[in-house]
Amino acid sequence: MSETQLSHGQRKIILVGNPNVGKSVLFNSLTGAYTTVSNYPGTSVEVSRGHCDIDGERYEVLDTPGMYALLPITEEERVARTILLEEDPRVVVHVLAARNIERMLPMTLQLIEAGLPVLLVVNILDEAESVGMSIDIPLLQEKLGIPVVGAALGRRRGLAEIRAAIAAFDPLLRARFAYAADLERDIARVAMLLHGDYRLDRRALALLLLQKDEEIHQRVLTVEEERREAIDNVVKDIVFERRVDLHLRISLERKRVCKGLLDGVVSQRQGQGPTLGERLSNWTMNPWTGVPLLLAVLYFGLYQFVGGFGAGTIVDLFEGRLFEEIINPWVVDLGARYLPWNWLYELLVGEYGIFTLGVRYAVAIVLPIVGTFFIAFSVIEDTGYFPRLAMLVDRLFKRIGLNGRAVIPLVLGFGCDTMATIVTRTLETVRERIIATILLALAIPCSAQLGVILGLLSEVPGSLLVWSLTLAVIFLFIGFLSARMVPGEQPMFYMEIPPLRMPQPRNVLVKTLTRMQWYFLEIFPLFILASVMLWAGKMTGALDWLVKAMSPAMLALGLPTEVSAAFIFGFFRRDFGAAGLYDLQSAGLLNPVQLTVAAVTLTLFVPCVAQFLVMFKERGGKVAAGIFVFVTLLAFSVGWGLNRLLLFTGVLS
């Protein structure tokens, strides 16, 4: 007999919840050893099925993939929701983690408003209690209007109560929670047009339609043949009217309802207020404390660790001692002895040789900097600081046509601007994508470029301050200008904030090594390629011609003509250009004003080839070419103006 036939007619228990809340522990405790795991039909997502007997009644138990909300984003969530829609459950057991009840309860609300027969299991109570957190389960049950069981399933606590609650479950129990009047009015406008027979409550369907759930939209269109046009029109009207804040409103309303539900339910033992982590988390998002904390992160993480330790100490050791004193003389000597052809000598160990330039830049200058940057980035990432930064800068970013969501591509831009330009596609509107692309191309230096520049400028008092202020002003000014010139909507930003954590050394190690491997596999070959192209340019005379062609621009910036080479390098890769600047500074060719002007212009100067190609692909030829021309002109104009200003005021002279 097939599994389907076996399960036919049996009552079903469906376990749902976020990943890692103990659903599988409950599944195993209920079903025992005899379970099957198979792909859900038409998908590659595995679903576990088993059976259990409760009070003489046989149930089929389904363990669904983790889901965060009823509105699915991943294939797993889609399958979990399909199970809820198709399997006709007797009981839906929503398992959540007690310590994160505030974050997870909105999904309980969604399940209830969908009209599903929900039993809530507040799991891992023991851990919550160990930190002084107390949850009044009977009060929560009373407020929610559904059965609620407290449990610590890892210790088998609460299992008997769950079984009893399933046996006594009353499917007629229905609770209802109201949102703000204007939102309710819009929900009702859609819901009243839905007359078909659905598994989900009409109110929940209306909310999913308003949130542009394509699967639900198709289901509704199939059922509501005569009213499909009317439904579509009403949904379109409401979505258009609320285009700026619909998702935000729904999320905030759910948060508000949950806050009310948890009022008096969750309490902290006396003398055990918020933990240090919770207090620190709040400080990072409050502008008064968040900005100083951000400056501290930048100072210690970037300036001291990447700029001082990476670009200073380690580069001095690798470049100054290892390569300049030991490896390079040996390799050049070897080349002079065994390479009879000048072109081969130049290609391998000449001025732009693969070894003397490509390998040296990649290994001795850039690798220590990106290595230290990756360590700092992974530590900060592992603490959960970035989403807090997004909340902190949200208000400021709104002024430049973006919102907190843009923190993702902009922060990633400090790693690699090319990849960050791809990530701009996660921003909601075309307007935001264009503004973020401009800012990435203009004012966000990649990790290696940033590290080299920090290392170079930190040796000249005042220079780093001028560079930082100039870039900050340009970033804000161009962002502010773009926000006024680029047409389009500005959506609101809202995200669930994950808990702040101590960075785990193992996480940091894995992430850093993974990123370092990426650097070696994908970036190192580009350095070699760039040195080959520069060698070809030198041999054919094209490089000399380019350097001469750029000389007037260099003179206008008050820079020696040799700096042209760094700009040409910079077009191959930003960090390659910065390494070129490092060489010029090491050779004593630049005074403090020239160094600062060169660093500012090079940072603002056109993005590297790879970033330009991605801009072309993501934003189209016209926009990419426009950004290219704009950024180039602006970089040189700012460099020219800064040179004049510094010479006129005597700052840094």
Binding site: V45, R99, T275, E278, F386, I422, R501, K511, T514, E522
Partner: protein
């Protein structure tokens, strides 16, 4: 694996998929929830990472420091 930005669990089959943007094989995983670019753990580090994930599952959602 957990997303380094939003902290949500990235489904296993998503981890194995490449978005197809990078030629020559993708070494990054974009979180389906927030779009953050997470580094794909190479094979030689997988055992270390799996140990890490096993530990984090033992502690479940014990994230507060």
């Amino acid at each position: 694996m957990k997303c380094g930005f939003c902290g949500r669990e990235i489904p296993a089959d998503h981890v194995q998929q490449s978005c197809g943007l990078c030629k020559g094989g993708c070494r990054k995983i974009h979180c389906p929830y927030c779009g953050h670019e997470n580094p794909a753990t190479p094979a030689y580090l997988r055992r270390l990472a799996e140990k890490k994930e096993a530990n984090s599952q033992t502690h479940q959602e014990d994230d507060h420091s």
